[in-house]
Amino acid sequence: MSDGAFGLSPGEPPATRPPPAIAAPGVVGWLRANLFRTWYDTLLTLAVLYVLWLVVPDVVRWALGDAVWSGEAAACRAAGGACWAFVAEKWRFILFGTFPADQHWRPTLAMLLTMGVLLASADRRFWGPRLLVLWAVGLGAAWLLMAGGLFGLSPVPTELWGGLPLTLGLSVVGLAVAFPLGVLLALGRTSALPVLRVLSTAYIELIRGVPLVSVLFMASVMIPLFLPTGVSIDKLLRAQIGLILFAAAYLAEVVRGGLQAIPKGQVEAASALGLGYWQRQRLIILPQALSLVIPPLVNTFIGFFKDTSLVIIIGLLDLLSTAKAALTDPAWRGFYKEAYLFVGVIYFLFCYALSRYSRYLETSLSKGRRR
Protein backbone atom coordinates (compact mmCIF):
# COMPACT_ATOMS: atom_id res chain seq x y z
CA MET A 1 0.00 0.00 0.00
CA SER A 2 2.69 2.43 0.97
CA ASP A 3 4.91 4.17 -1.53
CA GLY A 4 8.02 2.04 -1.67
CA ALA A 5 8.26 1.91 2.11
CA PHE A 6 10.31 -1.25 1.81
CA GLY A 7 12.80 0.32 -0.57
CA LEU A 8 11.74 -1.76 -3.54
CA SER A 9 11.52 -0.21 -6.93
CA PRO A 10 8.42 -1.37 -8.83
CA GLY A 11 10.28 -3.77 -11.12
CA GLU A 12 12.34 -5.41 -8.40
CA PRO A 13 10.94 -8.73 -7.13
CA PRO A 14 10.72 -9.11 -3.35
CA ALA A 15 13.49 -11.23 -1.83
CA THR A 16 11.43 -14.35 -1.33
CA ARG A 17 13.77 -16.67 -3.16
CA PRO A 18 16.99 -17.92 -1.57
CA PRO A 19 20.16 -16.33 -2.93
CA PRO A 20 21.48 -18.16 -6.00
CA ALA A 21 23.85 -21.01 -5.23
CA ILE A 22 27.48 -20.05 -5.55
CA ALA A 23 28.55 -23.36 -6.99
CA ALA A 24 28.22 -24.05 -10.70
CA PRO A 25 26.45 -27.32 -11.49
CA GLY A 26 28.30 -30.45 -12.60
CA VAL A 27 31.50 -32.15 -11.52
CA VAL A 28 33.61 -29.03 -11.63
CA GLY A 29 31.04 -27.20 -9.55
CA TRP A 30 30.95 -29.97 -6.99
CA LEU A 31 34.74 -30.04 -6.74
CA ARG A 32 34.82 -26.28 -6.35
CA ALA A 33 32.20 -26.29 -3.63
CA ASN A 34 33.47 -29.25 -1.64
CA LEU A 35 37.20 -29.52 -2.11
CA PHE A 36 38.59 -26.16 -3.22
CA ARG A 37 36.32 -23.58 -1.66
CA THR A 38 39.01 -21.71 0.30
CA TRP A 39 42.80 -21.77 0.24
CA TYR A 40 42.99 -24.06 3.28
CA ASP A 41 40.39 -26.39 1.78
CA THR A 42 42.65 -26.59 -1.24
CA LEU A 43 45.70 -27.23 0.91
CA LEU A 44 43.97 -30.02 2.83
CA THR A 45 42.69 -31.60 -0.37
CA LEU A 46 46.16 -31.59 -1.88
CA ALA A 47 47.71 -33.04 1.29
CA VAL A 48 45.16 -35.85 1.39
CA LEU A 49 45.66 -36.58 -2.30
CA TYR A 50 49.43 -36.79 -1.73
CA VAL A 51 49.04 -39.27 1.14
CA LEU A 52 46.63 -41.37 -0.90
CA TRP A 53 49.10 -41.33 -3.79
CA LEU A 54 51.79 -42.65 -1.44
CA VAL A 55 49.67 -45.36 0.18
CA VAL A 56 47.03 -46.63 -2.23
CA PRO A 57 49.25 -48.07 -4.97
CA ASP A 58 51.24 -50.14 -2.44
CA VAL A 59 48.11 -51.41 -0.75
CA VAL A 60 46.49 -52.32 -4.06
CA ARG A 61 49.64 -54.07 -5.23
CA TRP A 62 49.78 -56.06 -1.95
CA ALA A 63 46.10 -56.93 -1.78
CA LEU A 64 45.46 -57.60 -5.46
CA GLY A 65 48.47 -57.37 -7.77
CA ASP A 66 51.00 -59.55 -5.95
CA ALA A 67 48.42 -61.59 -4.04
CA VAL A 68 48.32 -65.37 -4.07
CA TRP A 69 44.76 -66.67 -4.27
CA SER A 70 45.23 -70.40 -3.93
CA GLY A 71 47.83 -73.07 -3.43
CA GLU A 72 50.35 -73.84 -0.73
CA ALA A 73 51.98 -71.62 1.87
CA ALA A 74 55.28 -71.91 0.02
CA ALA A 75 53.80 -70.12 -3.00
CA CYS A 76 52.67 -67.34 -0.68
CA ARG A 77 56.05 -66.95 0.90
CA ALA A 78 57.66 -66.70 -2.54
CA ALA A 79 55.32 -63.91 -3.67
CA GLY A 80 55.40 -60.51 -1.96
CA GLY A 81 51.63 -59.92 -1.79
CA ALA A 82 48.73 -60.96 0.35
CA CYS A 83 48.23 -64.66 0.96
CA TRP A 84 44.53 -65.13 0.30
CA ALA A 85 45.31 -68.79 -0.09
CA PHE A 86 45.50 -68.82 3.71
CA VAL A 87 41.92 -67.59 3.95
CA ALA A 88 40.84 -70.02 1.23
CA GLU A 89 42.37 -72.83 3.25
CA LYS A 90 41.21 -71.78 6.71
CA TRP A 91 37.91 -69.93 6.30
CA ARG A 92 35.80 -72.81 7.43
CA PHE A 93 37.84 -73.25 10.57
CA ILE A 94 37.81 -69.50 11.29
CA LEU A 95 34.05 -69.30 10.78
CA PHE A 96 33.01 -72.47 12.57
CA GLY A 97 35.90 -73.41 14.87
CA THR A 98 35.97 -77.01 15.94
CA PHE A 99 32.36 -77.74 15.03
CA PRO A 100 32.36 -81.10 13.18
CA ALA A 101 33.21 -80.30 9.56
CA ASP A 102 30.51 -82.47 8.00
CA GLN A 103 27.89 -80.64 10.07
CA HIS A 104 28.76 -77.06 9.09
CA TRP A 105 25.36 -76.59 7.49
CA ARG A 106 23.92 -76.57 11.00
CA PRO A 107 25.70 -73.46 12.34
CA THR A 108 25.15 -71.86 8.94
CA LEU A 109 21.42 -72.40 9.14
CA ALA A 110 21.41 -71.34 12.80
CA MET A 111 23.08 -68.05 11.89
CA LEU A 112 20.68 -67.46 9.02
CA LEU A 113 17.77 -68.04 11.38
CA THR A 114 19.25 -65.62 13.90
CA MET A 115 19.77 -62.97 11.27
CA GLY A 116 16.25 -63.54 9.97
CA VAL A 117 14.93 -62.86 13.46
CA LEU A 118 17.08 -59.72 13.67
CA LEU A 119 15.89 -58.49 10.29
CA ALA A 120 12.24 -59.06 11.18
CA SER A 121 12.77 -57.16 14.44
CA ALA A 122 14.32 -54.31 12.52
CA ASP A 123 11.03 -53.61 10.78
CA ARG A 124 8.86 -51.36 12.91
CA ARG A 125 5.69 -52.89 11.50
CA PHE A 126 6.48 -56.15 13.34
CA TRP A 127 7.04 -54.51 16.71
CA GLY A 128 4.72 -56.05 19.25
CA PRO A 129 4.13 -59.14 21.32
CA ARG A 130 4.38 -61.35 18.22
CA LEU A 131 8.05 -60.50 18.06
CA LEU A 132 8.67 -62.22 21.40
CA VAL A 133 7.24 -65.42 19.96
CA LEU A 134 9.42 -65.06 16.89
CA TRP A 135 12.53 -64.62 19.03
CA ALA A 136 11.70 -67.62 21.21
CA VAL A 137 11.00 -69.85 18.21
CA GLY A 138 13.87 -68.58 16.04
CA LEU A 139 16.57 -68.68 18.68
CA GLY A 140 15.22 -71.94 20.08
CA ALA A 141 15.52 -73.54 16.65
CA ALA A 142 19.00 -72.08 16.20
CA TRP A 143 20.08 -73.54 19.52
CA LEU A 144 18.61 -76.91 18.61
CA LEU A 145 20.52 -76.87 15.32
CA MET A 146 23.76 -76.15 17.13
CA ALA A 147 23.34 -78.56 20.02
CA GLY A 148 21.56 -81.37 18.18
CA GLY A 149 20.44 -84.48 20.04
CA LEU A 150 16.92 -84.32 18.62
CA PHE A 151 15.30 -85.11 15.27
CA GLY A 152 18.26 -87.24 14.27
CA LEU A 153 20.78 -84.42 14.64
CA SER A 154 23.97 -85.74 16.21
CA PRO A 155 24.65 -84.03 19.54
CA VAL A 156 27.48 -81.48 19.45
CA PRO A 157 28.72 -80.42 22.91
CA THR A 158 29.21 -76.69 23.42
CA GLU A 159 32.96 -77.20 23.87
CA LEU A 160 33.10 -77.73 20.11
CA TRP A 161 31.19 -74.56 19.26
CA GLY A 162 33.23 -71.67 17.99
CA GLY A 163 33.83 -68.96 15.46
CA LEU A 164 31.12 -66.69 14.13
CA PRO A 165 28.12 -68.66 15.44
CA LEU A 166 29.58 -68.36 18.94
CA THR A 167 30.26 -64.64 18.62
CA LEU A 168 26.85 -64.02 17.11
CA GLY A 169 25.02 -66.20 19.61
CA LEU A 170 26.72 -64.68 22.65
CA SER A 171 26.02 -61.17 21.35
CA VAL A 172 22.43 -61.62 20.25
CA VAL A 173 21.27 -63.64 23.23
CA GLY A 174 23.37 -61.46 25.51
CA LEU A 175 21.82 -58.23 24.31
CA ALA A 176 18.33 -59.70 24.11
CA VAL A 177 18.50 -60.52 27.82
CA ALA A 178 20.70 -57.65 28.98
CA PHE A 179 18.58 -54.95 27.36
CA PRO A 180 15.34 -55.58 29.27
CA LEU A 181 17.44 -56.15 32.38
CA GLY A 182 19.18 -52.83 31.81
CA VAL A 183 15.83 -51.08 31.40
CA LEU A 184 14.62 -52.56 34.69
CA LEU A 185 17.85 -51.49 36.41
CA ALA A 186 17.47 -47.98 35.03
CA LEU A 187 13.87 -47.84 36.24
CA GLY A 188 15.07 -49.13 39.60
CA ARG A 189 17.75 -46.49 39.83
CA THR A 190 15.25 -43.72 39.08
CA SER A 191 12.48 -45.25 41.19
CA ALA A 192 10.82 -43.51 44.14
CA LEU A 193 11.42 -46.54 46.35
CA PRO A 194 14.71 -46.15 48.24
CA VAL A 195 15.37 -49.90 48.49
CA LEU A 196 15.13 -50.38 44.74
CA ARG A 197 17.19 -47.28 44.10
CA VAL A 198 20.01 -48.35 46.41
CA LEU A 199 20.10 -51.92 45.11
CA SER A 200 20.12 -50.90 41.45
CA THR A 201 22.73 -48.21 42.00
CA ALA A 202 24.96 -50.57 43.95
CA TYR A 203 24.74 -53.23 41.26
CA ILE A 204 25.43 -50.83 38.42
CA GLU A 205 28.36 -49.15 40.12
CA LEU A 206 29.85 -52.46 41.20
CA ILE A 207 29.81 -53.90 37.70
CA ARG A 208 31.01 -50.71 36.09
CA GLY A 209 33.90 -50.56 38.51
CA VAL A 210 35.23 -53.93 37.37
CA PRO A 211 36.71 -54.93 33.99
CA LEU A 212 34.80 -57.41 31.82
CA VAL A 213 37.65 -59.88 32.07
CA SER A 214 37.18 -60.20 35.81
CA VAL A 215 33.40 -60.48 35.47
CA LEU A 216 33.98 -63.37 33.06
CA PHE A 217 36.44 -64.99 35.44
CA MET A 218 34.01 -64.58 38.31
CA ALA A 219 31.19 -66.06 36.26
CA SER A 220 33.43 -68.93 35.24
CA VAL A 221 34.94 -69.66 38.64
CA MET A 222 32.41 -68.40 41.16
CA ILE A 223 29.11 -69.62 39.74
CA PRO A 224 30.12 -73.30 40.19
CA LEU A 225 30.99 -72.57 43.83
CA PHE A 226 27.44 -71.45 44.53
CA LEU A 227 25.93 -74.55 42.97
CA PRO A 228 25.34 -77.73 44.97
CA THR A 229 27.92 -80.41 44.29
CA GLY A 230 27.05 -82.59 41.35
CA VAL A 231 25.25 -79.79 39.52
CA SER A 232 27.41 -78.13 36.93
CA ILE A 233 26.53 -75.59 34.32
CA ASP A 234 28.05 -75.32 30.97
CA LYS A 235 31.07 -73.08 30.45
CA LEU A 236 29.33 -71.33 27.55
CA LEU A 237 26.30 -70.59 29.71
CA ARG A 238 28.55 -69.21 32.44
CA ALA A 239 30.25 -66.90 29.96
CA GLN A 240 26.84 -65.84 28.67
CA ILE A 241 25.67 -65.01 32.18
CA GLY A 242 28.83 -63.00 32.80
CA LEU A 243 28.37 -61.04 29.59
CA ILE A 244 24.72 -60.34 30.37
CA LEU A 245 25.47 -59.12 33.89
CA PHE A 246 28.13 -56.83 32.48
CA ALA A 247 26.16 -55.42 29.56
CA ALA A 248 23.04 -54.83 31.67
CA ALA A 249 24.89 -52.35 33.89
CA TYR A 250 26.15 -50.31 30.96
CA LEU A 251 22.81 -50.37 29.14
CA ALA A 252 21.11 -49.30 32.37
CA GLU A 253 23.19 -46.14 32.50
CA VAL A 254 22.43 -45.31 28.88
CA VAL A 255 18.71 -45.83 29.44
CA ARG A 256 18.81 -43.76 32.63
CA GLY A 257 20.19 -40.87 30.62
CA GLY A 258 17.10 -41.06 28.42
CA LEU A 259 14.71 -41.39 31.35
CA GLN A 260 16.09 -38.28 32.98
CA ALA A 261 15.71 -36.26 29.81
CA ILE A 262 11.92 -36.70 29.80
CA PRO A 263 10.16 -33.69 31.35
CA LYS A 264 8.33 -34.30 34.62
CA GLY A 265 5.11 -33.07 33.00
CA GLN A 266 4.92 -36.28 30.96
CA VAL A 267 4.66 -38.46 34.05
CA GLU A 268 2.24 -36.02 35.64
CA ALA A 269 -0.05 -35.93 32.62
CA ALA A 270 -0.01 -39.73 32.40
CA SER A 271 -0.70 -40.08 36.13
CA ALA A 272 -3.50 -37.54 35.99
CA LEU A 273 -5.13 -39.64 33.25
CA GLY A 274 -5.12 -42.60 35.60
CA LEU A 275 -2.31 -44.64 34.02
CA GLY A 276 -0.49 -46.87 36.51
CA TYR A 277 3.30 -47.04 36.97
CA TRP A 278 3.98 -49.75 34.39
CA GLN A 279 1.58 -48.25 31.86
CA ARG A 280 3.26 -44.86 32.25
CA GLN A 281 6.69 -46.35 31.74
CA ARG A 282 5.72 -48.56 28.83
CA LEU A 283 3.46 -46.22 26.91
CA ILE A 284 4.81 -42.76 27.67
CA ILE A 285 8.26 -42.64 29.22
CA LEU A 286 10.24 -45.50 27.69
CA PRO A 287 9.23 -44.94 24.06
CA GLN A 288 10.45 -41.36 24.33
CA ALA A 289 13.48 -42.09 26.48
CA LEU A 290 14.71 -44.98 24.33
CA SER A 291 14.34 -43.14 21.06
CA LEU A 292 16.38 -40.30 22.56
CA VAL A 293 19.27 -42.61 23.41
CA ILE A 294 19.44 -44.68 20.23
CA PRO A 295 22.96 -43.46 19.33
CA PRO A 296 24.61 -44.27 22.70
CA LEU A 297 22.56 -47.45 22.89
CA VAL A 298 23.84 -48.67 19.54
CA ASN A 299 27.30 -47.61 20.58
CA THR A 300 27.00 -49.91 23.58
CA PHE A 301 25.63 -52.72 21.40
CA ILE A 302 28.57 -52.45 19.02
CA GLY A 303 31.07 -52.33 21.86
CA PHE A 304 29.45 -55.38 23.40
CA PHE A 305 29.54 -57.30 20.11
CA LYS A 306 33.27 -56.78 19.94
CA ASP A 307 33.82 -57.38 23.66
CA THR A 308 32.54 -60.92 23.31
CA SER A 309 36.00 -61.70 21.95
CA LEU A 310 37.21 -61.60 25.57
CA VAL A 311 35.57 -64.96 26.23
CA ILE A 312 38.83 -66.45 25.04
CA ILE A 313 40.26 -65.90 28.50
CA ILE A 314 37.98 -68.60 29.84
CA GLY A 315 38.77 -70.85 26.91
CA LEU A 316 35.95 -70.28 24.45
CA LEU A 317 36.87 -69.96 20.78
CA ASP A 318 35.04 -66.96 19.37
CA LEU A 319 35.60 -65.58 15.88
CA LEU A 320 38.80 -63.77 16.79
CA SER A 321 40.19 -66.76 18.67
CA THR A 322 39.56 -69.17 15.80
CA ALA A 323 41.51 -66.81 13.55
CA LYS A 324 44.37 -66.84 16.03
CA ALA A 325 44.12 -70.60 16.31
CA ALA A 326 44.26 -70.93 12.52
CA LEU A 327 47.58 -69.09 12.63
CA THR A 328 49.09 -71.68 14.93
CA ASP A 329 49.05 -74.26 12.12
CA PRO A 330 52.82 -74.74 11.54
CA ALA A 331 52.30 -74.85 7.77
CA TRP A 332 50.56 -71.47 7.74
CA ARG A 333 52.32 -69.56 10.46
CA GLY A 334 52.77 -65.82 10.04
CA PHE A 335 49.84 -64.71 7.89
CA TYR A 336 48.49 -62.37 10.54
CA LYS A 337 47.44 -59.58 8.22
CA GLU A 338 45.24 -61.83 6.14
CA ALA A 339 43.66 -63.54 9.15
CA TYR A 340 42.87 -60.30 10.96
CA LEU A 341 41.66 -58.57 7.80
CA PHE A 342 39.27 -61.42 7.14
CA VAL A 343 37.90 -61.32 10.66
CA GLY A 344 37.95 -57.53 10.68
CA VAL A 345 35.79 -57.37 7.58
CA ILE A 346 33.23 -59.67 9.18
CA TYR A 347 33.12 -57.60 12.37
CA PHE A 348 32.89 -54.45 10.31
CA LEU A 349 29.95 -55.67 8.25
CA PHE A 350 27.90 -56.42 11.36
CA CYS A 351 28.82 -53.21 13.17
CA TYR A 352 28.26 -51.08 10.10
CA ALA A 353 24.87 -52.65 9.44
CA LEU A 354 23.90 -51.93 13.04
CA SER A 355 25.07 -48.37 12.81
CA ARG A 356 23.17 -47.74 9.56
CA TYR A 357 20.06 -49.26 11.08
CA SER A 358 20.29 -46.96 14.07
CA ARG A 359 20.45 -43.96 11.74
CA TYR A 360 17.35 -45.14 9.93
CA LEU A 361 15.52 -45.82 13.19
CA GLU A 362 16.38 -42.42 14.59
CA THR A 363 15.00 -40.55 11.60
CA SER A 364 11.94 -42.73 11.24
CA LEU A 365 11.08 -42.39 14.94
CA SER A 366 11.49 -38.65 15.00
CA LYS A 367 9.40 -38.12 11.88
CA GLY A 368 6.63 -35.67 12.53
CA ARG A 369 7.51 -35.12 16.15
CA ARG A 370 8.90 -32.02 17.79
CA ARG A 371 9.72 -29.22 15.52
Binding site: S271, L273, Q279, I284, G368
Partner: protein, 251 residues
Protein backbone atom coordinates in the same frame (compact mmCIF):
# COMPACT_ATOMS: atom_id res chain seq x y z
CA UNK B 1 -22.14 -20.16 49.70
CA UNK B 2 -25.35 -20.71 51.58
CA UNK B 3 -27.30 -21.18 48.36
CA UNK B 4 -25.19 -24.24 47.57
CA UNK B 5 -25.41 -25.95 50.93
CA UNK B 6 -28.19 -28.20 49.76
CA UNK B 7 -26.21 -29.65 46.84
CA UNK B 8 -24.13 -32.75 47.28
CA UNK B 9 -20.44 -31.98 47.81
CA UNK B 10 -18.14 -33.51 45.20
CA UNK B 11 -14.81 -32.28 46.59
CA UNK B 12 -14.25 -31.76 50.29
CA UNK B 13 -10.99 -30.46 51.70
CA UNK B 14 -10.75 -29.98 55.41
CA UNK B 15 -7.79 -28.79 57.42
CA UNK B 16 -5.35 -29.65 54.62
CA UNK B 17 -1.72 -28.91 55.41
CA UNK B 18 1.37 -29.50 53.36
CA UNK B 19 5.03 -28.74 53.80
CA UNK B 20 7.98 -28.80 51.43
CA UNK B 21 10.67 -29.54 53.97
CA UNK B 22 10.32 -26.71 56.46
CA UNK B 23 8.30 -24.58 54.06
CA UNK B 24 4.60 -24.54 54.87
CA UNK B 25 2.85 -24.44 51.45
CA UNK B 26 -0.73 -25.16 52.44
CA UNK B 27 -2.06 -23.95 55.79
CA UNK B 28 -5.32 -25.38 57.08
CA UNK B 29 -7.05 -25.24 53.75
CA UNK B 30 -10.74 -26.15 53.85
CA UNK B 31 -13.04 -25.94 50.87
CA UNK B 32 -16.16 -27.73 49.74
CA UNK B 33 -17.11 -27.82 46.10
CA UNK B 34 -20.61 -28.81 45.03
CA UNK B 35 -21.42 -30.82 41.95
CA UNK B 36 -21.52 -28.61 38.87
CA UNK B 37 -19.89 -25.72 40.66
CA UNK B 38 -17.26 -23.59 38.91
CA UNK B 39 -14.50 -22.30 41.14
CA UNK B 40 -11.75 -19.92 40.10
CA UNK B 41 -8.66 -19.87 42.31
CA UNK B 42 -6.48 -16.79 42.24
CA UNK B 43 -3.67 -15.31 44.26
CA UNK B 44 -0.11 -14.08 44.00
CA UNK B 45 2.66 -16.24 42.62
CA UNK B 46 3.88 -18.82 45.11
CA UNK B 47 0.71 -18.69 47.17
CA UNK B 48 0.11 -22.43 46.74
CA UNK B 49 -2.64 -22.45 44.08
CA UNK B 50 -0.99 -25.14 41.95
CA UNK B 51 -0.11 -27.17 44.99
CA UNK B 52 -3.73 -27.03 46.16
CA UNK B 53 -5.29 -28.32 42.97
CA UNK B 54 -2.50 -30.87 42.43
CA UNK B 55 -3.35 -32.34 45.83
CA UNK B 56 -6.86 -33.10 44.59
CA UNK B 57 -5.61 -35.77 42.16
CA UNK B 58 -2.58 -36.72 44.22
CA UNK B 59 0.10 -35.30 41.99
CA UNK B 60 1.17 -33.86 45.33
CA UNK B 61 0.62 -35.56 48.67
CA UNK B 62 -0.83 -33.59 51.58
CA UNK B 63 0.48 -34.32 55.04
CA UNK B 64 -2.40 -33.40 57.30
CA UNK B 65 -6.15 -32.99 56.97
CA UNK B 66 -8.50 -34.88 54.66
CA UNK B 67 -9.39 -34.64 51.00
CA UNK B 68 -12.42 -36.48 49.71
CA UNK B 69 -13.58 -36.71 46.14
CA UNK B 70 -17.04 -38.26 45.66
CA UNK B 71 -16.70 -39.26 49.29
CA UNK B 72 -13.61 -41.33 48.54
CA UNK B 73 -10.74 -40.28 50.81
CA UNK B 74 -7.31 -39.65 49.28
CA UNK B 75 -5.07 -41.78 51.44
CA UNK B 76 -2.35 -44.36 50.96
CA UNK B 77 -4.80 -46.77 49.32
CA UNK B 78 -3.76 -46.97 45.67
CA UNK B 79 -7.24 -48.03 44.58
CA UNK B 80 -8.66 -44.81 46.00
CA UNK B 81 -6.08 -42.77 44.12
CA UNK B 82 -6.78 -44.65 40.89
CA UNK B 83 -10.54 -44.26 41.25
CA UNK B 84 -10.21 -40.52 41.85
CA UNK B 85 -7.76 -39.96 39.00
CA UNK B 86 -10.09 -41.71 36.59
CA UNK B 87 -12.78 -39.24 37.45
CA UNK B 88 -10.73 -36.05 37.69
CA UNK B 89 -9.33 -34.52 34.50
CA UNK B 90 -6.43 -32.12 34.59
CA UNK B 91 -5.12 -29.48 32.21
CA UNK B 92 -1.62 -28.11 32.71
CA UNK B 93 -0.02 -24.79 31.98
CA UNK B 94 2.53 -26.47 29.69
CA UNK B 95 -0.01 -28.75 27.93
CA UNK B 96 2.07 -31.91 28.56
CA UNK B 97 0.82 -33.68 25.45
CA UNK B 98 2.67 -36.87 24.57
CA UNK B 99 4.94 -35.80 21.71
CA UNK B 100 5.54 -39.31 20.36
CA UNK B 101 1.84 -39.96 19.79
CA UNK B 102 -0.54 -38.37 17.30
CA UNK B 103 -3.36 -36.19 18.54
CA UNK B 104 -5.79 -39.07 18.15
CA UNK B 105 -3.48 -41.45 20.02
CA UNK B 106 -3.06 -38.88 22.79
CA UNK B 107 -6.83 -38.85 23.16
CA UNK B 108 -7.49 -42.59 23.00
CA UNK B 109 -4.58 -43.72 25.19
CA UNK B 110 -6.21 -43.42 28.60
CA UNK B 111 -9.68 -44.65 27.59
CA UNK B 112 -8.13 -47.75 25.97
CA UNK B 113 -5.59 -48.57 28.69
CA UNK B 114 -7.30 -47.34 31.82
CA UNK B 115 -10.97 -47.84 31.04
CA UNK B 116 -10.49 -50.72 28.57
CA UNK B 117 -12.74 -48.98 26.05
CA UNK B 118 -12.61 -50.77 22.67
CA UNK B 119 -10.30 -48.90 20.30
CA UNK B 120 -12.94 -48.05 17.70
CA UNK B 121 -15.25 -46.68 20.35
CA UNK B 122 -12.40 -44.66 21.90
CA UNK B 123 -11.59 -43.16 18.50
CA UNK B 124 -15.17 -42.23 17.86
CA UNK B 125 -15.27 -40.53 21.24
CA UNK B 126 -11.95 -38.81 20.59
CA UNK B 127 -13.13 -37.36 17.28
CA UNK B 128 -16.29 -36.18 18.96
CA UNK B 129 -14.27 -34.27 21.57
CA UNK B 130 -11.90 -32.86 18.95
CA UNK B 131 -15.02 -31.53 17.27
CA UNK B 132 -16.08 -30.00 20.54
CA UNK B 133 -12.75 -28.19 20.98
CA UNK B 134 -13.00 -27.18 17.30
CA UNK B 135 -9.97 -28.92 15.80
CA UNK B 136 -11.37 -32.09 14.20
CA UNK B 137 -8.97 -31.74 11.25
CA UNK B 138 -5.82 -32.09 13.41
CA UNK B 139 -6.43 -35.70 14.53
CA UNK B 140 -3.54 -37.28 12.68
CA UNK B 141 -0.90 -34.64 13.40
CA UNK B 142 1.72 -34.81 16.11
CA UNK B 143 1.50 -32.27 18.97
CA UNK B 144 4.71 -30.60 17.81
CA UNK B 145 2.96 -29.60 14.59
CA UNK B 146 0.22 -27.62 16.35
CA UNK B 147 0.11 -24.08 17.71
CA UNK B 148 0.04 -23.53 21.46
CA UNK B 149 -3.66 -22.80 21.50
CA UNK B 150 -4.41 -25.92 19.49
CA UNK B 151 -2.20 -28.00 21.78
CA UNK B 152 -4.02 -26.77 24.85
CA UNK B 153 -7.37 -27.58 23.27
CA UNK B 154 -6.10 -31.08 22.50
CA UNK B 155 -5.05 -31.35 26.14
CA UNK B 156 -8.55 -30.38 27.23
CA UNK B 157 -10.07 -32.91 24.83
CA UNK B 158 -7.66 -35.56 26.13
CA UNK B 159 -8.88 -35.02 29.67
CA UNK B 160 -12.51 -35.01 28.54
CA UNK B 161 -12.12 -38.36 26.78
CA UNK B 162 -12.00 -40.03 30.19
CA UNK B 163 -15.45 -38.57 30.75
CA UNK B 164 -14.49 -37.03 34.09
CA UNK B 165 -16.98 -35.36 36.40
CA UNK B 166 -14.40 -32.84 37.63
CA UNK B 167 -11.88 -30.82 35.65
CA UNK B 168 -8.84 -29.12 37.17
CA UNK B 169 -7.09 -26.35 35.26
CA UNK B 170 -3.71 -24.97 36.30
CA UNK B 171 -3.20 -21.65 34.52
CA UNK B 172 -4.25 -23.15 31.18
CA UNK B 173 -3.72 -19.93 29.24
CA UNK B 174 -0.63 -18.41 30.80
CA UNK B 175 1.83 -20.15 28.46
CA UNK B 176 -0.09 -18.96 25.40
CA UNK B 177 0.46 -16.04 23.07
CA UNK B 178 -2.27 -13.42 23.65
CA UNK B 179 -4.06 -14.14 20.39
CA UNK B 180 -4.56 -17.79 21.36
CA UNK B 181 -5.90 -17.18 24.85
CA UNK B 182 -9.42 -16.58 23.61
CA UNK B 183 -9.77 -19.83 21.66
CA UNK B 184 -8.90 -21.79 24.81
CA UNK B 185 -11.11 -19.70 27.09
CA UNK B 186 -14.02 -20.16 24.67
CA UNK B 187 -13.69 -23.92 25.01
CA UNK B 188 -13.57 -23.59 28.78
CA UNK B 189 -16.66 -21.39 28.84
CA UNK B 190 -18.44 -23.98 26.72
CA UNK B 191 -17.47 -26.64 29.20
CA UNK B 192 -18.62 -24.54 32.14
CA UNK B 193 -21.96 -23.96 30.51
CA UNK B 194 -22.29 -27.70 29.93
CA UNK B 195 -22.40 -28.23 33.70
CA UNK B 196 -18.89 -29.55 34.36
CA UNK B 197 -17.54 -29.17 37.87
CA UNK B 198 -14.44 -27.02 37.40
CA UNK B 199 -11.59 -25.87 39.59
CA UNK B 200 -9.57 -23.38 37.70
CA UNK B 201 -6.40 -21.51 38.63
CA UNK B 202 -6.26 -18.50 36.36
CA UNK B 203 -5.55 -14.81 36.24
CA UNK B 204 -8.14 -14.29 33.49
CA UNK B 205 -10.54 -12.15 35.48
CA UNK B 206 -12.91 -11.74 32.56
CA UNK B 207 -13.34 -15.50 32.44
CA UNK B 208 -13.79 -15.62 36.22
CA UNK B 209 -16.48 -12.93 36.14
CA UNK B 210 -18.28 -14.74 33.36
CA UNK B 211 -18.38 -18.34 34.58
CA UNK B 212 -17.24 -18.63 38.20
CA UNK B 213 -19.82 -19.41 40.85
CA UNK B 214 -17.27 -18.62 43.52
CA UNK B 215 -13.75 -17.28 43.60
CA UNK B 216 -11.12 -18.43 46.02
CA UNK B 217 -8.37 -15.99 46.88
CA UNK B 218 -5.19 -17.55 48.27
CA UNK B 219 -2.14 -15.96 49.79
CA UNK B 220 0.85 -17.52 51.56
CA UNK B 221 -0.71 -20.98 51.55
CA UNK B 222 -4.02 -19.90 53.08
CA UNK B 223 -7.46 -19.38 51.65
CA UNK B 224 -8.01 -15.74 52.50
CA UNK B 225 -11.42 -15.19 51.03
CA UNK B 226 -14.14 -17.07 49.16
CA UNK B 227 -16.92 -15.15 47.42
CA UNK B 228 -18.87 -14.93 44.16
CA UNK B 229 -16.86 -12.92 41.65
CA UNK B 230 -19.16 -9.89 41.60
CA UNK B 231 -18.94 -9.62 45.36
CA UNK B 232 -15.20 -10.21 45.47
CA UNK B 233 -14.50 -7.61 42.83
CA UNK B 234 -16.94 -5.07 44.28
CA UNK B 235 -16.01 -5.21 47.93
CA UNK B 236 -13.20 -7.53 48.93
CA UNK B 237 -13.24 -8.11 52.66
CA UNK B 238 -9.53 -8.58 53.11
CA UNK B 239 -6.86 -5.98 52.56
CA UNK B 240 -4.68 -8.62 50.84
CA UNK B 241 -7.44 -9.43 48.36
CA UNK B 242 -7.93 -5.76 47.63
CA UNK B 243 -4.20 -5.28 46.99
CA UNK B 244 -4.01 -8.32 44.71
CA UNK B 245 -7.11 -7.41 42.69
CA UNK B 246 -5.78 -3.90 42.38
CA UNK B 247 -2.67 -5.29 40.72
CA UNK B 248 -4.46 -7.75 38.45
CA UNK B 249 -7.28 -5.48 37.33
CA UNK B 250 -5.72 -2.09 37.73
CA UNK B 251 -2.87 -2.14 35.25
Amino acid sequence: MTDLSGDEPIIELSGVNKWYGAFHVLRDVSLTVAKGERIVVCGPSGSGKSTLIRCINRLEEHQAGTIRVHGIPLDQDVRHIEAIRRDVGMVFQSFNLFPHLTVLENLTLAPVWVKKTPKAEAERLARQYLERVRIPEQADKYPGQLSGGQQQRVAIARALCMNPSIMLFDEPTSALDPEMVKEVLDVMVDLAQGGMTMLCVTHEMGFARRVADRMVFMDKGEIVEVAPPAELFANPKSERTRAFLGQVLGH
